[in-house]
Each structure stands twice: as structure tokens, then as C-alpha cells.
Amino acid sequence: MATLETNAAASAAHVEEHDHHEELSFIRKYVFSEDHKTIAKQYMFSGIFWAIIGASLSVLFRLQLGFPNASMEWLRPLLGNWIDESGKLDKEFYLAMVTMHGTIMVFFVLTAGLSGTFSNFLIPLQVGARDMASGFLNMLSYWFFFLSSVLMFSSLFIETGPASGGWVIYPPLSALPQAMSGSGLGMTLWLLSMAIFIVSQLLGGINYITTVINLRTRGMSFSKMPLTIWAFLLTAILGLISFPVLLSAALLLIFDRSMGTSFYLSEIYIGGEALPNIGGSPILFQHLFWFLGHPEVYIVLLPALGITSEIIATNSRKPIFGYRAMIASMIGIAFLAFIVWAHHMFVTGMNPFLGSIFMFLTLIIAVPSAVKAFNYITTLWRGNIVFTPAMLFSIGLVSFFISGGLTGIILGNSALDIQLHDTYFVVAHFHLVMGAASAFGFLAGVYHWFPKFFGRMMNKTLGYIHFWFTFVGIYLVFFPMHYIGIAGFPRRYYSFTTYEAFRTFGDLNMFVSIAAIFTFTAQFLFIWNFFYSIFKGKKAPLNPWKSNTLEWTTPLHPGHGNWPGEIPAVYRWAYDYSKPGATDDFIPQNVPYSQTPESNLPHENALIAIEKEIEAQNYNDQFKQPH
């Protein structure tokens, strides 16, 4: 106990001293900040900005798909020459919008926006650390991302248009400026931006991993970590292993584009001349791309699932069902994510034997995913469910995860994929399971941690309306889209009138477009609620959702360093909700078992003995180092 007191005294003294010299200038505090909470907010605002851009693009091309005969002349003030003389959307610009929508949503919103926001914000707060392992790298990570954003954004305004070959940028289309105008400067900017983006992701990822491994507070063993942190950790590991492969793919493409190499090019005759390139393989690019591209799906989805686990447990007032199974299935998913990439390539001419292997591996991934879904449902069972907006979005996420995931069983089957590959069935599938589910993860997270972010509450009623409009709207957009896919409609088509087989479903496409516009419009409820609540929201209580995790033990507006005194120690897992015998229906992680004899399970009474040991452990407090 003596050591404990001296430690506490030392730490208090230190904090005082720390406060003393922490007179940061405005720039260091809000712009080039090293505080993980500020960086998280920067990511959040950037993510929301990009989400608006990305969603607006989808509305524009949905207009084209839903109303192919309507004049787009009224968009000329916005799009200029991208509206051609006849008042139609330019065909290449249509592809450019599809491409940029995909790129922006996958990388800038759901990777940087989701992981960047919540990994940065929650990892130190939930594992009990003063900040990230390296605040400086963390700051660099954001500003690299910012630079990459500027480049990508600027490519929207150049005369030849942004990259247009689909977000997967398959060469040779993306390698040859003579193949389409977007493959000129637009593609150069895309590659440059993505290269910088990857640097940012790697800096961020290595920081997340280091922080989780090294800076957990006393007692926060891996088996007591909240599932959010598990999800962020696995996400960061996935990113760290797979993003470099995309970087190499992009570099080789840059070489092919500007240095005359032939990594991806072979036997091409275009623009009236035969190119000298021989021996390259476009399939090589696809392998490299999808080696990132598939883990990327889980990079986008796992944080959302982690956030949901936390929110569903908290608001069901129940422990998450099968905590260990949840971790195991996330590890399983993360591992399998690396060995299923070629299921995107069943009909590329890849060896059919490889196709069989990848089909087996792909369908295995359905098992851990199913376990997760069942565990979420069982967590609700016999709960005492509070429908906060965050909870609604989490339940919506589980529904999307199931609905979109199930069609993956069809697409992962190589024989069935022959017909459905690159049709709207695929579009519907991945928008539900990865797009909508992850977006709901982001929204749920914002609603849930808003009080910690800004010390204020968001308006609940607006949150409810926002949820129902969005939830219904997304189903109305993507459910009928499966029909269009089953009918064989290929994706990335500017119009379907050329084909007799695809001439049907005109009004269904119109319906989907209307639903998309509606869903898009409904997001402004959120935007308004978000910004209004930052300034005018009701002041938040310290622990508004009565949650167990450590972030709710910090002050309302945690300063740099998060806890004013010493960092709390952790004695129990994060899911002691509604424990029989306990006075309240939640017991935070920092409450020792010795204080809750009435609710301890037999094996937990044995853990009282090691509490002293936990308290005596190293603080892992990086602020105690002189800096």
C-alpha cells in the first residue's frame, strides 16, 4: 500500500507539473495536435466531410440510372462540361463518379473516418493510457491523410477528370491514358494520393498496435479488454500486413505508367499502335490489389463490429454473449481474410483449381461470421434493452450484417459467381454487409461517444428519426437491387437501354434512385444534430449510458493525459452488467472484486487475492517520462 501511495503522490505531483508547462499554442492544440482525442476529432470531421462528398456522387449517378432520359442540364452550373451538349451526363464522367464514390467511401470514409476516429479516440481511453504510444507519429498520420485527401479532392476538379476505371483501378485501363481520359492526370493523382494514404494508415496502425500491447493500464490483461479494442487491434494488424501490398501494387502501376515497365501490360494494341510491352500480367495486379482489397473489407467492418459489441452489451444491460467466442471469431475472420482474396477473381481466367481452393476458404469465413451474428442476437435475449440512437444503429448494423452476409454465401460459390460476378447482386451484397453495416458502426459510435467527444448530448428524437429513415431507406435501396442483379444487370453501366435483356426494371431503378436520394437527404438530420449539439447540446453526465469501460471514468472534458490523477487500475472484464446480487446493474472495470462481495462469482472471489498485485504493477504511464 505504501508503494501505491507514493506512486499516487508522485503521479499527482507530476500532473501538476505537467499542467504547468502545458501552455500549448492554438496551432499545437487544435491543428498539429498530438492529443489522440483531438486527432480523433480531426479524423471524424474529415470522415464526415468525405462521406458527404461520396454520398453526393452516388446521388448524381443514381439520377442517371434512375432517370436515364431526364435532362441533366440543371446540373451544368455544378458539373460544367461534364454535362454534354444534349444535356446528358458525360459517359466517362459517370464512370469517374462511380470510381470516386467507391474510393472515397472505402478508403476515406470507412477506413480513415471509422478506424481513424474510433481507434484514436477509444484505444487510449479504454485501455487506460495517457495517449497513443507516439503522439507525434499519430499527428503525422493524420496530416499525411490530410495531404492525401487534398490530392484526391483536387483530382475531382481537373479537366481530364478523376480516375475512372473503377475503385479497383484494374490495369491496363488505369495504366493507359489513351484508354480513357481519367487514366491521365486523374489516375496519377489517385495513385499519389493512395500512396500517401497508405503511409498514413501504416503510421496510424503501428501506433494502435503498440499502444494496445504496451500501454494497457494495470490489470488490463488481453482477456479483460473490451471487444472494441480487440477489434481495433485486429484491424490495425490487418492493415499493417495488407496495405504495403497495395502500395507495391500501386508503385508497380506507377512504373508501368511512367517508366515503361511491363509489370501489368502485355500484347496491347490501342489507339492504332501496338505497345512494346510484353510479358506482364493484368491478373498480377488483381492478385496484389485483392490481397489488400479483401482484408480491407474487414478493416472496414471489424471496427464497426467492435463498436457494436460494446454498444449492444451496454444497452442490453447484459454481458456480451460469448466474449471469448467473439474474440475467437474475430481472430478467425482476420486470419481467413488473408486467404480468400481470389474469390474476387473466379472468372478472370485464373486457374479453376485455385478457384476451388478459394471457394472452400471463402465459405469457411461464413462460420465465424455466423457465430458473431448469433452472439449478438443472444445478447439481446432476456436483456433490458434501452433504445438509445446508438443502440438502434447497432441493431440495424446486425441486421445489415446478416442480410448482406448471407448473399456472400452465394457469391463465394464459384459456380454461382459465374453468372452473378460484376452484376448488381454484388453491388447490393457489399453495400449491405460492408457499406451500410460499417456506416452504421460509425453512426452508432458517434451517437454513443458524443458525450465523451464533446461533453454534450445529441438530440435523441432526431437520432431516432434519423435511424428509422436511414434504416428503412437503405433497405429500400439495396434490397430491390438484388432483383436487378438476379436479372443479370452488369454494374458500372451508364445505361441499360442498349440491351434487350436489361431493358426491364426501369421503374425499379427509378425507385432505387428515389430511395437513395431520400436516404441521402435524411443524413442532414444527423449533420444538423451533430453540429448543433456540439455547441448547444444538453450538458452530458459523466457516464450517460452507465457503461463499464474506462473512458467514462475520465472528467467530462478530459485534458491531455485523460485522467487528472493516476490512471485507474482494472480488475474485471468490461461486461459486468446486471450481475446477480449487485446493487446497480453495472459494475465498471475499475471496481475491485473486494468491493463487490455480494455479486462475485466463486472464481472471482479467488481473484481478490491478486488485486494487490495488480495495483503494484507498473503504471505504464508515459507521461511520467520526461519529455
Binding site: Y269, K318, M359, T378, Q419, Y494
Partner: protein, 375 residues
């Protein structure tokens, strides 16, 4: 179709109205309520949301069923190839399994949300794990997956195995933005070599005339003809960027990759005529589309496919002139020792000229590579 729109719009409208009305009343009533934290969960909004989940589920199932039944008339008709019918039946088998899973899991999700909503002075059940339960729902999906994988794998193996020996080889070449076909001709069943460096304005497929098998090759760019009930092996390649051959009614799809020829074989067992009678649409045509984005004309790379009986196919084939016959100038490319063989495909009047090398087609490509056979 109007009905789909109507019904779904109605579903959505009802929901929207319900949300709005119930929530505004909640807003009015809950203002005082919400200030005390204890009542957060017990407020009326909790009941509304719980109810809405059930309403959403019921209306959703009705809407989904109805819209599916209505949309199914626009799905592609039964496949016109045996492998297509097989994968279709597997598709609907898988679809029915996942529909059951879809309905059951979503039903439980929404029902539990409704049933176990917050009640004051009530405690949730502390139920952190149950290994038996978890084992059961790990094993069941695993078994179902194993069955699906096995059936799918067998279908895939059959579809991708080597084409039968009697298959008709047809080359289909994608370029921005149309397809070109090459037939092996009437005199032998083999396609000649090609080399992309030989491509020029007339020789758009890069046919290599140093290979005698290419003399009788026929090129077509308007439509593809194939005989019914005979295996057809598509030899697929691309000239510029990636394309993908998609014949929706045959359930055929394979990418066209520059520098890497791909293949897909299938049997069409319904002629265009039969389909016209079956669908009642006298203008019915099989179509070939592109499904790998390839540039601004991607959406319009349409070619029609005519499936006809062996007899009309042979008649059509006989009417086609070999490429060399249409382009006699290229006789100059034929090596001396094969000139005699090639001459029979070249109309008599132009047969003499090629010896004069100035009349030979211009630009020998970047043509330094004499190793024309790249395959």
C-alpha cells in the same frame, strides 16, 4: 412494376408517418421525463422503437415477398445451357437456405429487441456464455456450408474441365468497344496463330499468315453464330484493356485479358427460334455483353448471338468468306512454301499481284519479332 414502386413507397410512407407522429408525441411528453437519467429507458420512445422494429419486420417481409414475386417475372428465363440450368438450381437452392436463415435471424433480432425492451426495476439475465449453444451454432453453419461448398465445387469442376474434343472453337476478342469473332473456317477445325504486332487497320485480330491454319479462318464482327447442342469453346482474348464476355442466357462469363488468353466452354441447347416461341417474344435475341469496366463505351459492347440448328449453321458458315479471301493483299505475308496452299483462298484476279512486294500491305507492325506464335 409500378406496383412494386407503389407498394414499397407505401410501406415506407407508413413507417415514416408512424415514426413522425409517435415521436413528436414522445417529444412533447418526454421533455420532462428525459431530464432524469433514471427514466431514460422507460420513456415512451423505448416502446415506440420496440414497436417499430416489429412493424418494420412485418411490413418488410410482406414487401419483400410481394416485390420478389413481382420482380421474378423480369428475371432471366431458364438458362439455355445445361450447366446454366445446373447453377441456376444451385442458386435457388442456396437462396432458399439463406432466405430461411435471413428470416429467422432477423425475426429473432427484431423480436428480442421488442420483447426485452427496458422495464423499470427489471434486471437483464446475466448470461455470459453457453458452450453447448455456441458449439451447436458453429457446427450447423459449418455443415450447411460444407454441403453447399461440395455441390458448388462439383458444378464448378464440371464447368471448368477441358472442353470436349468435338467442341467448336471460336475466338472472341474484346476491344474498345465491340467484340470480334474468328471461326476456324470450313477446311480445318483449327484457328490459326495470331500476333498482336500484326494488327493493323485491316487485320484487326492480328492473324498470322505464316500459319497455314489461318488461311481459311473467318472473321465476323456483327453477330456470333453457333450450332445448337454442340459444345462451343470460346477462346477469349482482349486487344487493349480488360473486358469480360457475358452471355446472360447461357450463364457464361469469362474475362478477356490482354496477353493472357482465357477460355470458357458451354453447350447451347435452345435455338434462338425456340426461345422466341418459349418467351412469346418474336424479337428475342441472345446477347453478349461486357462486364468488366473498359471505358466510356462499356455499357454498349453489345453483340448478338444466334443459336441455330447444325444445318443452318453450316449454311451460314459456308456463306462466310475466309478473311484471306476478303483481304487478298495479305497473300504477301504468306511464306513462299505455303503460297500454293494459300492461293486457293485468294480470288484468281488478285492472286498474281502479291508477288510485287510494293503492293503488299504497309507497315510490318513493329514487326521485328518473327516468332509469331505466342501460344
Amino acid at each position: 412494376m409500378v406496383y412494386i414502386v407503389g407498394l414499397l413507397a407505401l410501406v415506407f410512407l407508413i413507417l415514416a408517418i408512424m415514426v413522425l407522429t409517435r415521436l413528436t408525441s414522445v417529444l412533447k411528453g418526454a421533455n420532462t421525463d428525459e431530464t432524469t437519467e433514471e427514466n431514460l429507458g422507460a420513456s415512451a420512445s423505448n416502446r415506440v422503437n420496440g414497436f417499430l422494429f416489429i412493424a418494420f419486420f412485418v411490413l418488410g417481409v410482406v414487401g419483400a415477398t410481394w416485390s420478389f414475386l413481382h420482380a421474378s417475372q423480369f428475371f432471366l428465363p431458364e438458362a439455355s445451357s445445361p450447366h446454366g440450368r445446373h447453377t441456376d438450381s444451385l442458386f435457388w437452392l442456396t437462396m432458399s437456405i439463406i432466405t430461411i436463415a435471413f428470416v429467422v435471424t432477423n425475426a429473432l433480432l427484431f423480436y428480442f429487441a421488442f420483447k426485452y425492451q427496458y422495464r423499470k426495476n427489471h434486471r437483464a439475465t446475466y448470461y455470459p456464455e453457453n458452450h453447448k449453444l455456441e458449439l451447436i451454432w458453429t457446427v450447423i453453419p459449418a455443415v450447411v456450408m460444407a454441403l453447399l461448398v461440395f455441390t458448388g465445387w462439383r458444378a464448378w469442376r464440371d464447368i471448368t474441365k477441358e472442353a470436349p474434343a468435338n467442341a467448336l472453337n471460336i475466338e472472341i476478342v474484346g476491344k474498345q468497344f465491340n467484340w470480334e469473332m474468328r471461326y476456324p473456317g470450313v477446311d480445318n477445325d483449327k484457328l490459326g496463330n495470331y500476333n498482336y504486332k500484326l494488327i493493323d487497320a485491316a487485320n484487326s485480330l492480328g492473324i498470322d499468315l505464316e500459319d497455314e491454319q489461318s488461311f481459311d479462318d473467318v472473321t465476323v464482327s456483327s453477330e456470333m453464330h453457333i450450332p445448337v447442342n454442340r459444345p462451343v469453346l470460346l477462346k477469349i482474348r482482349a486487344k487493349d484493356v480488360l473486358h469480360s464476355v457475358f452471355i446472360p442466357h447461357m450463364r457464361v462469363k469469362m474475362d478477356a485479358v490482354p496477353g493472357m488468353p482465357t477460355r470458357f466452354w458451354f453447350i447451347a441447347d435452345k435455338t434462338t427460334e425456340q426461345m422466341r416461341n418459349e418467351t412469346g417474344n418474336q424479337n428475342f435475341k441472345y446477347e453478349i455483353a461486357c462486364t468488366e469496366v473498359c471505358g466510356q463505351g462499356h455499357f454498349s459492347m453489345r453483340t448478338t448471338l444466334v443459336v441455330e440448328d447444325e444445318e443452318s449453321y453450316n449454311k451460314w458458315m459456308a456463306e462466310q468468306k475466309p478473311w484471306l479471301t476478303k483481304n487478298p493483299d495479305y497473300l504477301a505475308r504468306v511464306p513462299e512454301k505455303l503460297k500454293a496452299k494459300a492461293a486457293k483462298y485468294v480470288p484468281a484476279n488478285s492472286a498474281e499481284t502479291p508477288s510485287d512486294s510494293t503492293a503488299a500491305p504497309v507497315e510490318e507492325g513493329a514487326g521485328a519479332s518473327p516468332s509469331a506464335s505466342l501460344r
